[in-house]
Amino acid sequence: MVLPYVHDVTEHEQVPILFDQITRDLGGLDLIIYVAAVQPPVALHEYNFEKDEAMLRTNLLGAVAWLNQAALRFEQARSGHIVGISSIAGDRGRVGSPVYNTSKAGLNTYLEALRNRLTRFGVTVTTIKPGFIDTELLKNAPKTFWVISPDEAAAQVYAAIRRRSQVVYVPPRWRLVGLIVRSIPSSIFRRLNF
């Protein structure tokens, strides 16, 4: 059974009542996945607050609005599973997409904090860090590789949820990329063009 609801995740004040409505319509809640994100094209010398605000409001604050509700409920239920679709882009701040990186880094830290808060209450928090997935978002990406289809990505996310994993790269080979990217010293990283 699928119940669709039309909602703009940047309308944060609507979240509590809609969350309430959905949990009731479903007759409970065991799992929540936050998937919403935007990445408008941003030029190398562009500092456009409107675009930046849209990314933060959707990618980060929307997640906080929804997952706070879930966290409160799952803590009281002593069970539940929170999944946030973040990105490999949150592993490092890069020249091409400062605020997109910020929104995903913020999301990673937020999910980590939720995990640290909620594990003791029997709640699982999974951070998913996809690489390039063949969606609308890729249209704005300058160069891509290791692209996988949304169906394949979904299958890997589903498997991660079943395993109750904590942090998962999709596909897994991005874990190594993430490790390397995070290990590069800033003195070198700031000279790179990616």
Binding site: R24, G27, G28, L29, Q76
Partner: protein, 490 residues
């Protein structure tokens, strides 16, 4: 744990919640489960302490578009006191004794007063609750709503037979007084109406006069079901209480064998020291079992036993020990005779993680022997013997949603695991057919598996229609609901 699949969850209030309705405070969300622990879910739980604060919860329910389920001690084995994703009113804080007359034994209590509170309040005046359930944690509101019975059901009937009048708050906030004379139709339907017509805010009952804190108890064993029935038939007229404990793992010729306990009140003068035996301090279960084992850890020792092989050994040992010692007679404090389920605190934990359900059919005396024999052998054939089987004698009553018959009931505890869950459900359906075929009935305090068509088969369309009409009158917007209501009548 999530809802079990055989308890379909039909969520949503009938009073058509609009999207503009207010949200409920999330800090009231709690996980509530059926007593047996098989089903659980999240609810907004409120614990009012006065009728006014109770009324406020009803108003909140309207404004939030949620239904309200009522909960007392939470001792219903199934889903009678849960209302997933909606409001649950836990009435245990409304626990005042409003009036007590030690000369007449008439008492007026709020719904959250427990059986334990009640007997402790009255016993030193020489009175005892006329009906005592196997646990003393039940509340009077829950007891009236379920119309509970005790081991004296054949003689004293259910608790409703001892209720003189009650005040019922309707979902409009109005409170009506009901008795056999005033609002008699609501009186006979709210008792046993599993909290669907209104909320008891006060209940007036007649207590039973006693002349000692002790009961004269006799125990013995019976070799099979026909001996068991014979004992009940022979002794019912001369006993105040009778209960049979059947070893349901025994098969063949021994099917239905077990222990019988019967007890009588002491007549005036039989107890030389009634003032002492009636002291609350002298009514206790004792801190230890067999003098050494702390009762609080006993459930851990039960854990390895609640499986077929373990229970076979326990039951056989118990039966052999009983038959070896023959007929035993002794005097026992009321509390020790009645509250056997309180002996081992948290004993249901032995059934975790799956939990347990109870199946308790009530069958007329003419067909009971054949039906119970068939039930016991079917459970064995299906590889699902139950671990605690209690036989009781009953008399009919005049309540609308009555479960009682002039006959017997057999309460059976089934362990539920992920592996056997579906088989237990199928077995319950097969058992339903036997019970309905024998003219039997069911008890909502225990039920987890009843389907709408089975409920209609035993209650009859006419009774259900009358109950629905009364519900429309008392609760026109359908505010009062539980998971049980949605499962069986939704």
């Amino acid at each position: 744990m999530t809802d079990v699949n055989y308890i379909p969850s039909k969520q949503g209030a009938r009073h058509n919640p609009a999207r503009t309705m207010i949200e409920l405070p999330a800090e009231h969300l709690e996980r509530l489960s059926s007593w047996g622990g098989v089903a659980s879910g999240m609810s907004y739980v409120f614990r009012p302490s006065t009728p006014d604060s109770l009324h406020e919860v009803l108003l909140l329910a309207r404004r939030s578009g949620r239904t309200v389920g009522l909960r007392g001690g939470g001792n219903s084995y199934g889903d009678a006191a849960t209302n997933n994703e909606n409001i649950v009113v836990d009435l245990r804080r409304m626990k005042r004794i409003l009036d007590w007359n030690p000369a007449t034994g008439r008492i007026r209590v709020e719904p959250g007063v427990t059986l334990s509170d009640l007997w402790q309040y009255i016993i030193e005046d020489g009175w005892w609750p006329p009906v005592a359930t196997g646990t003393s944690y039940t509340t009077m509101g829950g007891s009236a709503a379920m119309n509970v019975h005790g081991k004296n059901a054949f003689k004293a009937g259910p608790i409703g037979d001892h209720i003189i009048e009650f005040d019922l708050m309707l979902t409009s906030g109005e409170t009506i007084t009901c008795s056999r004379e005033e609002n008699s139709d609501v009186f006979h339907a709210a008792i046993g109406g599993f909290g669907m017509l209104g909320i008891f805010t006060s209940i007036t009952m007649q207590m039973k006069r006693i002349y000692s804190g002790l009961l004269e108890v006799e125990t013995c064993t019976r070799a099979d079901l026909s001996e068991m029935f014979g004992y009940f038939n022979q002794h019912a007229s001369e006993s105040d209480y009778i209960v049979g404990w059947i070893d349901s793992l025994a098969g063949g010729k021994s099917i239905g064998r077990g222990d019988v306990h019967r007890a009588n009140y002491l007549a005036p003068g039989m107890d030389p020291h009634p003032a002492q035996t009636l002291r609350t301090e002298n009514q206790h279960l004792g801190p230890n079992l067999f003098g050494v084992l702390p009762r609080s850890v006993m459930w851990l020792l039960m854990r390895p036993m609640v499986r077929n092989a373990g229970m076979k050994v326990v039951n056989k040992g118990k039966y052999l020990a009983g038959s070896f010692s023959g007929v035993k007679k002794y005097q026992q404090p009321h509390v020790q005779f009645h509250f056997l389920l309180d002996y081992i605190p948290d004993w249901k934990k032995a059934y975790e993680p799956g939990g347990l359900i109870q199946y308790q059919p009530f069958i007329p005396k003419e067909t009971a022997y054949d039906a119970f024999s068939e039930i016991l052998s079917l459970c064995r054939r299906r590889g699902l013997p139950n671990y605690l089987t209690v036989l009781k004698r009953h008399r009919p009553d005049d309540f609308l949603m009555s479960y009682a018959v002039d006959g017997f009931s057999m309460a059976m505890d089934f362990r539920v695991t992920d592996e056997n869950r579906q088989r237990v459900v199928w077995l319950a359906r097969e058992l339903d057919d036997i019970v309905i075929g024998a003219g039997g009935r069911f008890y909502f305090a225990k039920d987890s598996t009843l389907r709408p068509e089975t409920a209609e088969a035993f209650l009859g369309e006419e009774r259900i229609t009358r109950f629905r009409e009364l519900k429309r009158r008392c609760d026109p917007d359908g505010i009062l609901e539980t998971d049980l209501w949605r499962r069986v009548f939704g």
